[in-house]
């Protein structure tokens, strides 16, 4: 008997396959993060400390008088901002990577370049965000809640969505037909 029609009907659509792969990657990422990276603390610490140092250095370079103590950055005279785990962009980087890895197509070299470039870009975007926080506490402390709540939407969303869109465009141009999940006769 020919069971190919059963095999064909059980084959997930490209979207389902993408969502399943993305879900597995995110699940694994959170497991690795919660059970290894977070308790270990070194990656979080590196991202937080380097972010605070870079943001403080840049603010200092532009003429603001700042003080920083490990994870805390402040313009002198203010309480400042503390970059704890969960504030350093590691979770966002995991989300970004999940999409790029799960979306089918594109050569491996470009995928790796996109992952590396995106991670670096997100790191510097977070440095910029830390600078904005330190300055907002100094200049507009009453708007702290708004600045802190909506900064992600204005800083990270455009970057991540643009990178994802670019990656889908690049992948779609270079995707081999047999990987796309669609028949050439459709």
């Amino acid at each position: 008997m020919n069971f190919s029609f059963i095999k064909e009907s059980l084959r997930p659509s490209p979207l389902t396959r993408f969502l399943m792969v993305a879900g597995v990657i995110y699940g694994l990422w959170y497991l690795v993060y919660d059970y290894y990276l977070l308790p270990d603390g070194r990656l979080d610490e590196f991202l937080s400390l380097s972010g605070v140092n870079l943001a403080g250095g840049l603010l200092n370079l532009f003429g603001w008088e700042i003080y920083s103590d490990t994870r805390i950055l402040a313009v002198t005279g203010t309480s400042g901002v503390e970059i704890q785990n969960g504030c350093n962009g590691l979770e966002l980087i995991g989300l970004y990577m999940g999409f790029i890895i799960a979306y089918p197509g594109g050569p491996i070299q470009k995928r790796v370049a996109f992952l590396a470039g995106g991670i670096i870009l997100l790191f510097f975007a977070n440095v910029f965000r830390i600078m904005i926080f330190a300055l907002s506490i100094y200049y507009v402390p009453t708007f702290w809640e708004q600045v802190h709540t909506y900064s992600s939407y204005f800083i990270f969303y455009p970057i991540v969505l643009t990178l994802w869109y670019l990656w889908t465009s690049i992948s779609d141009q270079e995707i081999p037909l047999f990987l796309s999940g669609y028949s050439s006769t459709s």
Binding site: F18, L92, Y165
Partner: protein
Amino acid sequence: MKNTITRLVLMALPLISFISAQPDFPSAPNQAPIGGLGLLAAAGGAMALKKFRDKKKK
């Protein structure tokens, strides 16, 4: 069936960040966690959905 699975996965994706949300930290100085990652994940899912649909139309 496929559509049901797709919808379920699409709806569940943003919940990942809520499920594994980290506990609050002490109040001072100001903390600045990155919010709205569930929404970003949902936007990514919607973008992929549109791309796959466009590809299917071609």
